[in-house]
């Protein structure tokens, strides 16, 4: 029984098949034919429920996106972090790993130096250098040169402000962990390793606040170098054994001032959050 070429299922059979109203014989015939006939397969498409197909495709796209992501993002997603947040946090994570490495190396170097000569100078150098790293890390993480975040901001269902803050947090949070670990590992240093925390919060939040008005990169350079210059001026002529004690930023009163400045800057940033949507995208992209 050779078919007259070319045999096709025909619109009526296909419609009945999709509706489920074709009987068994016609159903089997349609199925056998569909497997081998591209033309008839295409003819089924207009009969399908388009909304349902698109919904299924959306689920597939989400799942495939998830497959494409790195382990960090998948882990966050499993923890219940919403998809777009997980993406924002983990995108370009290799970049951030290098920053974290820098910070960890800075801390380790200071600790090693300290354990060799126990000098005040090495601790002081570390305390001054440490706040620069998060500042540079945060501003570079949101200035769109180093990773595909620029693309992401335009696509993410969230404000640019949220993206910035999330990124800033993901840079700052691990540094806190590292420093806490350092304090625990070398107890005789006491709270000294954590003295750089408030300066770094202060520098970073001030940079963000000023960044809503001035170019972020320029602000970052200015604040970073200003901090180093201030440290060297304050300790000029001070005894080598009391460097930390002679820089006001590391004293209780100075730390309190830094905390206040951080808060003011944070409020300022929160108020000006809309400006992030335009300023940094336009300027540094």
């Amino acid at each position: 029984m050779t078919p007259n070429p070319p045999w096709h299922a025909g619109p009526e059979l296909l419609a009945d098949y999709v509706d489920g109203t074709a009987n068994r014989t016609r159903t089997a015939s349609a199925e056998a034919h569909l497997l081998s006939c591209e033309e008839c397969r295409a003819a089924v498409a207009p009969l399908a429920d388009l909304g349902r197909l698109e919904r299924n495709l959306a689920v597939i796209t989400d799942r495939v996106d998830l497959e494409r992501t790195g382990p960090v993002e998948r882990f966050l997603y499993r923890l219940g972090v919403p998809h777009h947040v997980a993406r924002v946090v983990s995108v370009g994570s290799t970049e951030r790993v290098s920053w974290l490495t820098d910070i960890a190396v800075a801390i380790l170097v200071a600790l090693v130096f300290d354990s060799f000569d126990g000098s005040e100078a090495s601790v002081f150098a570390f305390l001054v250098a440490a706040p620069i790293l998060p500042l540079a890390g945060v501003t570079s993480s949101i200035s769109f040169r180093s990773d595909p975040l620029g693309e992401l901001v335009t696509a993410a269902p969230t404000t640019a402000m949220k993206v910035f803050l999330l990124r800033a947090l993901t840079v700052l949070a691990p540094t806190l962990v590292v420093v806490a670990a350092a304090s625990v590992l070398v107890p005789r240093l006491g709270v000294q390793p954590s003295l750089w925390l408030l300066p770094s919060f202060c520098l970073t939040s001030t940079a963000l606040a000023l960044g809503t008005v001035f170019p972020l990169r320029a602000v970052t350079w200015m604040l970073g170098s200003g901090w180093v210059v201030a440290a060297s001026i304050a300790t000029r002529g001070a005894p080598r054994t009391d460097l930390v004690g002679s820089f006001a930023a590391f004293q209780p009163a100075g730390q309190l001032v830094l905390l206040l400045v951080s808060l003011v800057a944070a409020i300022f940033v929160a108020r000006r959050r809309d400006s992030f949507d335009f300023l940094d995208l336009g300027r540094t992209a």
Partner: protein, 174 residues
Amino acid sequence: MGETATDEALLAAIAQGDQQSLNVLYRRHAPWLTARLTHRCNDREVVDMALQDTFVAIWRKPRSYEGSGEVAAWVWGIAVRRLIDQLRRRPAHTPVAAAEVVVVSAEEEVLVGLQHGGLISALDSLSPELVAVVQATVLDGLTTREAGRLLHIPAGTVKSRMSRARVELREALT
């Protein structure tokens, strides 16, 4: 990969990580797959999940297509197995048995006669539970065990029904 690419070319592009090609493949095959899966299981939700699993599986292993035969048949092979996986997670489900009463009109006999006519007409002479087994093993290409899962019967029963069907088909065709 554009809309006009062959299925094989789309699979090659998917293997390179081209998500757009997966979308093209989906739009091409999802409509008939949905219809065919619905004939095996009348639970919309189960069918949707099986369909989703199918294309995620294709995304993961596009190279498991060995380059011979219709891509559509390969896709169906994945889809029906994903359907079985979905059904296994829901024991309460009752599969669609080929149980409707079939009255073949003369007109249909002519139509069917053009495509696998003899065999399919002969199938109609079988009882519904035998047809279901033939459909699962011969037409859907499932193993005895997989067919058993789809139809919710033991693998041994699939085998015994299959041999009964074989005998009856042979009689009907001669």
